[in-house]
Symmetry: C2
Subunit: 309 residues, 2 copies
């Protein structure tokens, strides 16, 4: 086996990275997890998690993230506060170049850098995230039972989730900056046929406001420049997500616009490099499958290591 | 859309089925989960679970299974005590034939029937399961720190896990009924080179005994018929697993010896039929990835339903 500082370096400390780390530490691999900020990833800033199995009454995102990290630490996973700036993942020894100037080498790497939703970038959005502003209908839809809400976006996800949200909300306004949707035909038709959905065309949201929770949004028609107020209790921002790919050598990894392609065992196109969680090219991004992928990625690492000559 | 009793029927109430059910109930699908025995699957009979993320100190299998079920019930997932005897999964309306004589129809099905480890079928095995007898090295290995243990089997899994277990145990006896291993060469070589591993050839285990926990096993040489006693605190039975496939129409589903093939979105070869958990053809069978697959399977069901003309 070639020489390297570690058998495994995990990049990213969200549910995928921490679960991979839990499995790696339990398996007594020579491992380190690198996280540039705080562990927990997006979960950390999620107000309430109702659909992570094992918590019948739900759990706060903060508390769940703490539990993930505590469990990994219990098995003595070393977690280092380091920002990875770039990597060279080709060949048997992987090199990670840190912002601190150090270079770490490893026989395998698990990429678990995550993704983030595209924000609108308007006043009130950040302030009311988790208090009426949401980026995930599957996660938060059931909290809006009997209320009126807005969905921002015109793609497949936005329109499909608007239909989904009518199961809870009494009224769903879909706000789109163009005069037609990008969503596929059959999904469009289902939305147009739904009495609870009202489309507001050629319109952008310019502000989200409220007291302790969202009470309304300010709209602007991009053609007439007319401004109006819409009283809604929720605003789902569904205008795509982007991968945290800034530190990834995308020329060394098969990817879809920065989302890393893997097989079912979470192996990337680069031998010895696995990926798990939201950074992966896939359909669904939830805590539970991110964690599942982290565990699978670790087992693939163990298999890769055990086949090293 | 064609007519059917349900939009979704989930077969099996382990972590995969219950997570699919949790997601389906939250999404307000017209769904039912069918389970022939008690919910929880194999988790129910697992003594202690240390590697399901979210429980830093670990949790008893019984309690974790209860939490999974309680969470699904909180979102009003209907769980019915019914045994499925056979199915017809071809065409747009799936038919499930129950032991009770009833037939249920559904637009989609999630197969989550699980798998079970092959047992040795010897005295003491059942009695000491979870008290020294284990079928999963990844799950239970760390509980045997500083102890002497036995591994039964000669395939890839048995030999690879024997090496893995030397990280915890002071001595690992590998008991194999033949005079050579079936495991691949590189894995064999690693085991032969390991000082802590001792092979006992041409030998079968005939009894597992102890007090409150395992204290030893009785061995029999199949050539000389000589019987001996081996004092070990643990006995890992790693002689393969078999899918719970008795009720599955295997002629309608691509499969590997009964394990159902799926793509990354948990879709089987049959449109409208997803699979999740241990019944799937895959490398790793852990609670966390079974649950993750259940959630993904449900989202694939929703996508399939939303594209129905």
């Amino acid at each position: 086996m070639p020489e390297a500082d570690y058998q495994l370096i995990i990049v990213g400390g969200g549910p995928a990275g921490l679960t991979a780390g839990l499995y790696a530490a339990r398996a007594k691999l020579n491992v380190v997890l690198l996280e540039k900020g705080t562990t927990g990833g997006q979960v950390m800033s999620t107000d309430w998690v109702d659909n992570y199995p094992g918590f019948p009454e739900g759990i706060s995102g903060f508390e769940l993230a703490e539990k993930f990290a505590a469990q990994a630490r219990r098995f003595e996973l070393p977690i280092k506060l380091e920002e990875v700036q770039s990597m060279d993942l080709a060949g048997p020894v992987k090199k990670l170049f840190l912002a601190s100037g150090k270079t770490l080498t490893s026989l395998t790497v698990i990429l678990a850098t995550g993704a983030r939703p595209n924000p609108l970038g308007i006043p009130g959005e950040k302030e009311f995230t988790g208090k009426g502003v949401s980026y995930c209908a599957t996660c938060d839809g059931p909290f809006y039972r009997g209320l009126e809400i807005a969905v921002v976006g015109g793609g497949d996800t936005a329109v499909q989730e608007a239909v989904h949200l009518t199961k809870f909300a009494t009224k769903v306004y879909v706000i789109h900056r163009r005069d037609q949707l990008r969503a596929t035909k059959v999904i469009q038709e289902r939305a147009f046929a739904n009495d609870k959905i009202e489309f507001i065309w050629n319109t952008v949201v310019t502000e989200i406001f409220g007291g302790s929770d969202v009470e309304g949004i300010r709209l602007k028609n991009v053609k007439s420049e007319e401004e109006t107020i819409l009283a809604v209790k929720g605003c789902f921002v569904l205008i795509g997500i982007r991968p945290n790919m800034e530190m990834l050598p995308l020329n060394q990894l098969d990817n879809d616009d920065g989302f890393i392609k893997t097989d079912k065992e979470m192996q990337t196109s680069q031998p010895g490099v696995m990926a798990a969680g939201d950074i992966c090219s896939k359909e669904m991004r939830q805590i539970i499958n991110a964690a599942g992928e982290g565990a699978v990625a670790c087992i693939s690492v163990e298999r890769y290591l055990s086949n090293f000559k």
